[in-house]
Symmetry: none
DNA sequence: GTGGTCTAGACCACC
DNA sequence: GTGGTCTAGACCACT
């Protein structure tokens, strides 16, 4: 699992860690029943204080995304996939909405907007394709 | 002209002011030949030091977006509209690209992505329509 | 590096500092790749505020005479020598033109003018020669 | 007689007025025995306080360039032409010397310097010629 | 240590 | 009234 935490980002580090875990669950990188890396492991990997990781885990526990089995570790909870997918979709929609709203506020013609979206998606597909081959 | 400057945003205040002015020119809120509010006026409106505004204007002057006539004021330059529209388009494309990239990275199906974009645009149109009537 | 800034000269101090640096590059006193004295050092040497030096450096940066590497220092850029020589030549020509123009306006005979120029150049050569030996 | 006094030049206005009169005598624009315009006339023409003109005249009197005949006016003195020519030559030589010195200090090759001087003199001649015809 | 930016307040120049 | 520049001192970011 890769960790890229920006200590001065708009979100505090603990939220970034929680978000990273939710994203991993949503994209099935880790599945319900899997055990997360240990708090200390995550802390060293993410260049972050273990307390920060603990806070993130507590948050996810409260959201029923993970459950900690004392003496064993932290595991992805049963309904976690749906919860995280819903969260991820909300995130993406929010970001998209902001970008589109800004474009509209800037007086951009809708046709142009759609052309750009098309171009960007096409470019991403091509980049993907090249990577795979 | 409305000013909302975040003193601790990712961009320094002077850049935020420059961006706000570019956006205003791009959206024809102010047109070539118009006089900008005075440096001191902008400073008080934006809750910012006059020096900070001056720096923004210096930048815009060297981009040929404005020209200052000493003792008279700062005016939107002749070719400014094109320059600012180009800048705005770049900004929007960058934001869109980031949002789409994130969506892709999160493993979102493209069909779903397009559905959302459609919904968001439709909702904006409706909101617009309601405003006008 | 010697600094003699006149706070009330016809040029503002920041321009005088920029000119001094350009001259130093043109005369190879400092060469491309060299690091300039730190902004604060120049400021104390030239009896001027660091902000004033910073403004001069900003100007030189946009003229591609220097490039600043954040946290490291300000360095003479690669093409700087040519840029500065061209600037210096323009300066000298302008001064010469003014002096000759004044001489002409004063009704001085051209023969006399050339004699003086000859004398002055000869005297300079002699002074140089004496210095070297 | 034309007056162009810069109230904020490097020389104080009274010195500028004295210099203008010396130059007029040196170039024979006015000759020994001629009466100068009245102090008040000069003052209005030069946009300057009469006291300032009076101070200039006093200076010239001390240099034996003019002599005031009470109740009659101020007249160009007998030896004035030589005095003023000498003064003018000194001025021109000084300015030339400074310009040449700067050029040398800047490391300019002497050949280049002479080429420029030649070009400038030639251009002035052409401009003169065009004016006359 | 380096530069970059900001604030605060002053002075000058232009109109 | 307008901008432009300077000084003074503080904070941040990068190395």
């Amino acid at each position: 699992m890769k960790w890229t935490i920006d200590p001065k980002g708009s979100l505090p580090p603990s939220d970034q860690i929680a978000a990273r875990i939710r994203a991993a669950v949503a994209s099935a990188e880790i599945a319900p029943g899997d055990r997360l890396p240990s708090v200390r492991q995550i802390a060293t990997d993410a260049l972050v204080n273990p307390n920060t990781v603990a806070r993130a885990i507590r948050q996810l526990e409260w959201e029923h995304v993970v459950e900690t089995r004392p003496g064993d570790g932290v595991f992805v909870a049963n309904g976690a996939a749906d919860i995280c997918k819903q969260w991820r979709d909300g995130e993406i929609r929010t970001r998209l909405a902001r970008a589109l709203e800004d474009a509209r506020a800037a007086g951009l013609a809708q046709g142009q907007l759609l052309v750009w979206i098309g171009e960007l998606i096409r470019d991403q597909e091509e980049a993907d394709f090249r990577k795979q081959s």
